[in-house]
């Protein structure tokens, strides 16, 4: 059985402007020692879905949550606040995007780590302090013991993020959710943090969910990738599959629109036209249809579901194009053709 199993999760927020369907039927599983990458743009629901797993959206008075989240045999959505508090930061831990605003500026880093430990373990303050020192050492902060006495503002950005990771690890979690853990950091520090997460995942056998907008980051750390668009997963598959034979036009768009460090330097990038849709007035049919170059009339009416790609184990996609058409289109696109050109050459089915 999977360690974390999210099934048909829906999180809707009632607002004055209408119902915001931030997450609209998301399912995924994470096993021990496995890393799942969730990729999407801002407003695709990737953060809300993970905050819900942590039980952090349940207190929003206007949130309407349905579906199921089963962690280690326990349903987290129906768990009491008390049970949730026992789990949170203990067996399921989270690293947030902005390390400066997630650490309390008034308390020493050591004190904050001790609090995280003592919340879940009955140990003396001294023992917890020792353990905090070990944790900072584990995440590679030099002179860890001395650093416990420092305040967050005395840490650099990369060190703050390491301290956040140390705090998340303080109770040996089984699942670690990292929400854009490296977005605020420079590339050299990002490389350090990604390597650290990969190392800890291998050593401690944690399940990791890494949420990011950067395809490069997931390519390096994730075993499996889910691409989110407008509150739903539109494509899911093994990392290699997703990069070698992506099947959703949105994934193609993402892959084609990022400038690359290697390969020929093209004059023009191929952007995805338009902009991300409103989550209140979700486009009819396939939510991607207003931006999709391969749209057909019926795609505006039929809502696609995540379906397995034939002859490709573990790969599923929510697209109304026929599998053969998709394969031909991607072959043209990956050979460097532009979307309009590919569209003209391949009969859409």
């Amino acid at each position: 059985m999977a360690l974390l199993e999210v099934t048909d999760l829906r999180v809707h927020f009632k607002t004055d402007d209408g119902v915001v369907k931030a997450v609209d039927g998301v399912s995924y599983t994470v096993d021990r020692g496995q890393a799942l990458g969730i990729v999407g743009e801002s407003g695709s629901g990737k953060s809300v879905s993970s905050l819900t797993v942590m039980g952090l959206t349940r207190f929003a008075g206007n949130a309407d949550i349905s579906g199921s989240i089963v962690f280690d045999g326990v349903d987290l959505l129906s768990a009491s606040d008390e049970d949730m508090r026992r789990l949170r930061g203990n067996e399921v831990a989270m690293i947030f995007q902005d390390p400066l605003s997630s650490l309390h500026p008034f308390y020493k880093v050591g004190t904050q780590l001790v609090e995280a430990i003592q919340t879940h373990q009955h140990v003396s303050r001294g023992a917890a302090w020792d353990r905090s020192g070990q944790l900072l050492e584990l995440v590679g902060i030099p002179e860890a013991r001395k650093r416990l006495d420092h305040y967050p503002h005395e840490f650099s950005g990369g060190m703050r993020q390491r301290a956040m990771i140390a705090m998340a690890l303080s109770n040996d979690p089984k699942v670690l959710i990292a929400d854009e853990p490296t977005t605020a950091l420079d590339v050299t520090v990002q490389a350090q943090i990604l390597e650290l997460i990969a190392k800890l995942q291998a050593e401690l056998g944690m399940g990791v969910v890494i949420i990011t907008h950067d395809l490069g980051v997931v390519a390096e750390v994730a075993d499996e990738i889910a691409v989110m668009y407008a509150g739903r997963i539109v494509e899911r598959g093994k990392t290699d599959t997703l990069f070698d034979s992506p099947a959703h036009p949105y994934t193609w768009g993402l892959l084609e629109s990022i400038p690359k460090l290697t390969g020929p330097r093209e004059e023009e990038l191929i952007p995805i036209p338009g902009r991300p849709p409103s989550l209140i007035h979700r486009p009819s049919g396939c939510a991607f249809h207003p931006r999709c170059p391969y749209v057909r009339e019926e795609h505006k009416k039929i809502d696609p579901h995540l379906e397995p790609v034939p002859e490709d184990g573990g790969h599923s996609v929510a697209c109304l194009l026929a599998p053969n058409t998709r394969r031909e289109l991607w072959a043209k696109l990956s050979a460097g053709e532009e979307p309009e050109q590919a569209r003209a050459e391949v009969p859409l089915q």
Partner: protein, 354 residues
Amino acid sequence: MSENLVEVRDLVKHFPITQGIVFQKKVGAVRAVDGISFDVRKGETLGIVGETGCGKSTTAKLLMRLLTPTSGSIKFEDEEIGYVSGSKLKQLRREMQMIFQDPYSSLNPRKTVGAIIGDPFIVHAIDRNDKSRRKKVQELMEQVGLNPEHYNRFPHEFSGGQRQRIGVARALALKPKLIVADEPVSALDVSIQAQILNLLSELQRELGLTIVFIAHDLSVVRHMCDRVGVMYLGTMVEVADNETLYSHPRHPYTGALLSAVPVADPHEARSKSRQILGGDVPSPTNPPKACRFHTRCPKAQELCWTETPALEPKTGGGLAACHYPLTDAEAADRIPAVAETYSSSAASSSPSSS
């Protein structure tokens, strides 16, 4: 007239750290930019990359003369502009414009888009006639891909990508010769980034603009720029043509940066032997002596902490400030795929420089 639009020589900007309230005593200085020299050629895009705190934004502000240099010279069209002020400075501002990083805070929320883009015409007393100004603004909006009918809308009615287009239109209003773009796409979503990058290169082709493009994202810089300068702790450590820099980096810092960029290709990610720099960037208040990179450099030897390396041409690469530059083999080890990409083209043409 030389072929350089801008020439920067030994540019220094120190921000004093003071103590005391009434009698402020200088106790130190943040050496944000500490003696950099480079040229910007007419019609090219010069990229400046580096990590947080390396002085790239300060350099942009110095070029724009939003800051006055501590010492050194900035020449714009062969004229010293480093210390001009008053009406002369205002005149200068017509020739150079800036595109800012954050499209949310760089547009006044109380003004309509028309007023924001039209403001430069009023400030510089070029067109105070409402009707003809409106026409000019709408032409600009059209040019950057905005709907001219949205003239009377407010910034909050636009998405991030569209706001950045407004910023571009405002920068283009006075037909400047130089555009300084400080991280113009880093606040945007990936799918929108490409739209703005394409817009900038298109406008450059059409209008013959010279652009100084400042960014931390090496892939974006590779895509946009003709030449690239790499900054570290207030100094320029390497300047080279785009292809030379990415295929034959000579400074170990450039090598480390290139090696650290995550690549959107799982096969390649597994194959490369990533070189990870330990530690953090030292404080610019008290930078390391001699070569500033020696505290983190894998190749550092005694000479590196006693003697400051000069920015000089290196064999097989561009200009680098390093005593022990990377060899081709070392560069290829850090970034195998990059080396592969270029090996075919390098074999057919002669080596990029010697």
